[in-house]
């Protein structure tokens, strides 16, 4: 593995992703937690660039950093959860041991080829473009049914969120 732009980008985005994730699970102030979440999601968007999926990187930044992180910020403000909770953690020791064990098992699984075969060292030259994805999404041999179901799901989630979060007492009529 030689030192080039991709390797440097990988290291930088790894620092962003894992550092942001560490901030999310450790910070006391949840406002700072949302900022850390944005940093982590930005690192993941960088991975998508490195993996030659620029459309997913743009969607990641628009949907996650632009929408979900802002939504979480609003939830933090609406619930005043910054000040009330004194203890950050519950059952921290078993959780830490369990997640550490999970990480070691996963790391063992991806580095040691137990089931035979080996993971590829380099990616193939040809890569599908965003244009291919757009065609496949509306192709009847492609993903048109999940594409339509996704729009139904988003509509249902939007209506459901409005209905669930509406304040019954504050209604005018």
């Amino acid at each position: 593995m030689e030192l080039n732009a991709i390797t440097i980008g990988f290291v930088v985005f790894t620092i962003f992703t894992l550092g942001g994730g560490f901030g999310v699970v450790t910070t006391r102030n949840l406002f700072q937690g949302t900022i850390w979440l944005m940093v982590s999601l930005f690192g993941v968007a960088g991975y998508f660039i490195l993996l030659s999926a620029p459309f997913l990187a743009a969607v990641q930044i628009l949907v996650y950093i632009g929408a979900i992180a802002i939504l979480i910020t609003f939830a933090v403000m609406l619930t005043r959860s910054v000040t009330r909770i004194k203890e950050r953690y519950i059952r921290i020791v078993p959780s830490f041991i369990g997640s550490l064990l999970l990480f070691l098992i996963l790391l063992f699984g991806v580095t040691v080829p137990i089931f035979g075969g080996h993971l590829p060292e380099s990616a193939p030259q040809y890569v599908a473009s965003t244009r291919d994805l757009g065609i496949a999404l509306v192709d009847e041999n492609g993903y048109v049914v999940p594409f339509l179901l996704a729009s139904v799901l988003l509509t249902a989630a939007m209506i459901g969120a409005i209905v669930i979060a509406r304040d019954e007492k504050a209604k005018g009529g």
Binding site: M1, I6, T7, F10, G21, F22, V24, V25, L30, G33, L37, S40, L41, Y47, L51, A53, F55, L56, Q60, V63, Y64, I68, L71, I72, F74, A75, L78, T79, S81, I85, E87, R88, I90, I92, S95, F96, S99, L102, F103, V110, T111, L119, P120, E121, S122, A123, P124, A128, D132, L133, A136, P146, A150, L154, A157, M158, G160, I164, A165, D167
Partner: protein, 105 residues
Amino acid sequence: MVPLWMYLAVAAALFSLGVFGVLARRNAVAILMSVELMLNAVNINLVAFWRYSETSTDLLLNGYAFTAFVLIVAAAEAAVGLAIIITVYRNRRSVIPEEAVALKG
């Protein structure tokens, strides 16, 4: 080119961080943020396997398209989850999941 197992190792670390957050944090909003971390780890895995696989042309976009659908489902999950948290907070003045025991038998 970065070998595939490095992406998988980073995704494993991110997923474990998310698992720790879900299990250990007390605040429901923080738990939801940890769930987002886990979803992102899965997305890294999907895109990395898609990029490094030598598939036939029929399967050329499976990982790419599946990641897009995971993003959509994550957006829906965040919206509904935060609405539930706000409703629970309005009724019980608490964002700690252990205190929402109205349905406990």
